[in-house]
Amino acid sequence: MSIRASATAESLGATALEPEVAAAVGPSLALRRLLHHRSAAAGLGVLGVYILAGLLGPLLFPFNPAQNHLVDVFLPPGRPGHLLGTDNYGRDELLLILNGMRYTLSLGLLAVAIGLVVGVPLGAISGYFGGWVDIVIQRFTDVLLAFPSIVLALALVAGLGPGLRNVVIAVGVSSVPAFIRLVRADTLRLRELAFVEAARALGAPPARILLRHVIANALAPVIVQATLQMGFAILVAAGLGFFGLGVQPPTPEWGELLGEARNYIFSDPKLATFPGLAIFGAVLAFNLVGDGLRDVLDPRLR
């Protein structure tokens, strides 16, 4: 497959980014613009509420998901003490979702972190050194890209076994190629620029050039990509949970809750509705913020 086929497209449909424009925008200005960007602000707001609720909820209302109350199963929403009702174990649905938040968010965060830590250096090395290093890394990327993310993640989890750590690895691996592609493209351009050539002429070691001049200047598109990738990672991770291959119960991870709720879509459709809505909201928020970041950091597409 050719390099043109942007790695980001499968997950995000993002257009190629133009970082030279981005580099001109300072961080504080970018933040101010982001807050004035309508959809990005909405996304940030949703994320803020999520994080606050996910942190405060479990603190304020201690909750043990392994504890059940069989006399109160399948209560409808709106009962006193149970705003969203209860599930098949008589557990409070709202508390379940609040407690599940940290699993879902940290799954996404850790998976993207793997993508960044592995993908960004590989992309920079590939673009900077060129030659056979580039060829090897690019063919490797082609191979990883050939598998649909969910299939790659499923195959990995099938082998590694379910659980938080393995889901993070599986989803992380499937988000690596997007970062390699992105950073490589930027590096190819940056390495020809005067300030990088100057550093090289002054005898700076390649590692330092890569870190201080190349990666530092390619940060803007990486941030955009990482934000959008968060949404996608959450979708894939929750998909694994949905099939029972993710975090295992009684941990109330949203995908797992949704998967279990499949058994109750007639008797109690709310059990499938709320966790799905929560996943949808989180992914939407990351996508909105990512779009906003792209608009702000890359005014050409605004």
């Binding site: 497959m1 050719s2 043109r4 086929a5 942007s6 497209a9 499968e10 997950s11 995000l12 449909g13 257009t15 959809s39 063919r139 490797f140 082609d142 191979v143 990883l144 890209l145 050939a146 598998f147 649909p148 993310s149 969910i150 299939v151 499923l154 195959a155 990995l156 099938a158 082998g159 590694l160 076994g161 949404g231 979708l235 929750a238 998909g239 949905f242 099939f243 291959l245 949704l258 709720a261 499949r262 879509i265 007639f266 459709p269 499938a272 509705t273 799905g276 809505l277 996943i279 949808f280 992914v283 939407l284 996508n287 909105l288 779009d291 597409l301």
Partner: protein
């Protein structure tokens, strides 16, 4: 043109080889003894040893690897541990369903996606644009497995209007195809919009408009045609996400395609079938994108000489 085609083929070969190698390594890294899994819980040690010999698992790894590549060249993917039928036959009997589903979903997604994207671009910053853009973000943020459940609740359970599962009725395909299409609709609409915006801003379009060409003609004969290249790329890449989405959609709607086969095989620990399917997913993606590249070169001759 011919040398270009050849060159693209030659680049695809190492990628296919890489895909095969990754699958081989993944299968060998898995914990547990595949021979024991295939032999079943009640098997004796003798059964396990026999299966191990049959599968060549008693050979050193490099020999296994060469055997594996050799049988791939002969299109021999082994036999299913669950049904004992050849893996190729298992996949072959399910593949038409997935192709049907993915094709219908792709047609729906391309038709709606391009139309929505063009409309949004032409009426840039209008209310229509806002609505289309918002819906597109909604589309790509929607968990397909959730959407599928919600559609079942509304159309199958609530309204009794459409089948909830299976593939045995003419209307069976509607819900799974819609579910599968939605993600791609959002993606294609977004791509079309930004691609169109770029083209619409270019000089020759302005010239064409200035020369008095009707706006419909400008949009469809000139702008869209030029915006089409990146859109084709995205559609090519959609094959990957459609196949991925098929895994989820087919499972929810009991659609008898390869996606559901993958999930079933994972749960049965039917490693030969899982291995064969992962290979097939990878190879399909590479070949489709090879075709897209060639199509691209055909549409835009500049590519060939770069």
């Amino acid at each position: 043109m011919l040398t270009y085609v050849l060159r693209r083929f030659l680049v695809a070969i190492p990628t296919l080889w890489g895909v095969a190698t990754v699958v081989f390594i993944m299968a060998r890294l898995l914990p547990g003894d595949p021979a024991r899994v295939i032999a079943g819980v009640l098997a004796t040690q003798g059964d396990v040893d026999r299966i191990r010999r049959q599968m060549g698992l008693d050979q050193p790894l490099p020999v296994q690897y060469l055997d594996f590549l050799g049988s791939l060249l002969r299109l021999d993917l082994g036999r299913s541990a669950h049904t004992n039928a050849p893996v190729l036959e298992e996949i072959g009997s399910r593949l038409p369903y997935t192709i049907e589903l993915a094709f219908v979903a792709l047609v729906v997604a391309v038709a709606i996606g391009i139309l929505a994207g063009v409309t949004a671009a032409v009426r840039r910053n209008s209310k229509t644009d806002l609505i289309i853009s918002s819906l597109s973000v909604f589309g790509i943020s929607m968990p397909v497995y959730w959407l599928g459940l919600m559609l079942i609740i509304v159309f199958a359970v609530g309204l009794h209007a459409l089948p909830a599962a299976g593939a045995d009725q003419p209307t069976s395909i509607i819900l799974p195809a819609l579910t599968l299409a939605l993600f791609s609709v959002g993606l294609i609409a977004r791509m079309t919009r930004s691609s169109m915006l770029e083209v619409l801003g270019q000089d020759y379009i302005r010239t064409a408009r200035a020369m008095g060409l009707g706006s419909g003609s400008v949009i469809f004969r000139h702008a869209l045609r030029n915006a089409l290249l990146p859109i084709i790329t995205v559609i090519g890449l959609q094959v990957g996400s459609l196949l991925g989405g098929a895994v989820l959609t087919e499972t929810i709607f009991a659609w008898p395609g390869v996606g559901r086969l993958l999930i079933d095989s994972i749960f049965f620990r039917d490693y030969p079938v899982v291995q064969g399917l992962v290979l097939m997913f990878g190879a399909t993606f590479i070949l489709v994108n090879l075709l897209v590249d060639l199509l691209y070169a055909y549409v835009d001759p500049r590519i060939r000489y770069s």
